[in-house]
Amino acid sequence: MDTHENLINRLRAIDPAAEMDTAAAAQRVVSRVVGAKKQRRLSRGMLAGLVIGGIGLVTAAAVPIAMSLNVNGKPVEFDVVIPITYVDEQQTNHECAIGVYVGSGTDKTGASEQIVEELEDIDWSGLGQRAFDRSVSALAGEESADEKRAIFVANVSMLYDEALPVELLSGDQVIASSIDCTGAGL
């Protein structure tokens, strides 16, 4: 019969990571990720204007509300801020954002937290440019600024909805969002 110490030593001897000499390389990966991901954080206060919200699912019904997002009549803070970036035909950069709130009504549960994590895991890059390109091709050339904004917001909303995993929409959680995009550059 193995002694305790002998057994533990034999167990340690088969550790597949025991002989790895990877500390420096592992740190370099951190440096690269940190360097690449330092993006401008969008202030929650910037998110004003059109609100796209829903109870239990995300809808594309736009309801104008100024400066805040309300759920069940109560103001809530955003859990996730999704940056929307694009370059227009004059090569000008534009930035706006979608602010997302997740909760069971106005309460937070474990399920809310899980959905927030899922949303944070989605790669949202490219969404803004795709929305802009779709909007450009949808324009007839005579739209007012308000109409351009509506077209752009509709495209952003559509792409956002498409990117959301279906299973996130099937529970009893509120996933409400607000967009501050104006369609600048169209």
């Binding site: 990571a17 592992a26 991901k37 944070e120 895991d121």
Partner: protein, 180 residues
């Protein structure tokens, strides 16, 4: 009075330090739980990116932040396994064939090590994970309990049971009654 909120740059600085300090341990954690080095590197890259994206949620105390990072690592692995599982039995069969091949290769190298490796592979997944956390990752039993979402007393009894199973299998590897 409420404590002042950490500034963005303070959060970034702290998160960077914590990630750098724990980077090699996180890579090893990934390596111990996937079958090949490429997958381990992928898991590691994904978990660093995920942790960085979620840095605003990182606890502000280094020990807590370390535990939080291993929680992120666990979730990344779980998500990948879920995704892999959705590819069905065909890939499972491939994985098993590769593992058998790897085991044969190892068996030719050193019988003694193979006994322990086979024994570890033969005990239940939960017991195996606990032994790996404690003896490879260096968690103490309380940390292992937190990481697994279990009571410390449950972990203590499970650890003792897992070690007994391992010992029995190493002593008598062909006894199916010992297997989980």
């Amino acid at each position: 009075m409420n404590a002042p909120r950490a500034t963005r740059s303070a959060i970034d600085k702290f998160a960077t330090e914590i990630l750098v300090t724990n980077s090699d341990d996180l890579l090893r954690y990934a390596r111990r739980r996937v079958s090949n080095p490429q997958d381990a590197a992928d898991v590691y890259g994904e978990l660093i990116e995920t942790a960085w994206r979620r840095r605003s949620r990182m606890p502000r105390e280094p020990r807590e932040a370390r535990m939080w990072l291993f929680g992120v690592a666990k979730n990344v692995l779980r998500r990948r396994r879920r995704k892999a599982a959705s590819h069905g039995a065909m890939l499972e069969e491939l994985t098993q064939l590769m593992l058998v091949s790897q085991q044969r290769q190892a068996a030719n190298q050193q019988d003694d090590i193979m006994d322990v490796r086979q024994a570890l592979a033969s005990i239940g997944a939960a017991d195996r994970e606990l032994l790996i956390l404690i003896h490879w990752d260096g968690f103490n039993q309380n940390e292992a309990a937190r990481h697994l979402g279990l009571n410390p007393s449950t972990v203590r009894s499970r650890y003792s049971r897992a070690l007994d199973k391992l010992r029995l299998l190493v002593t008598a590897p062909s006894d199916p009654a010992v297997r989980a």
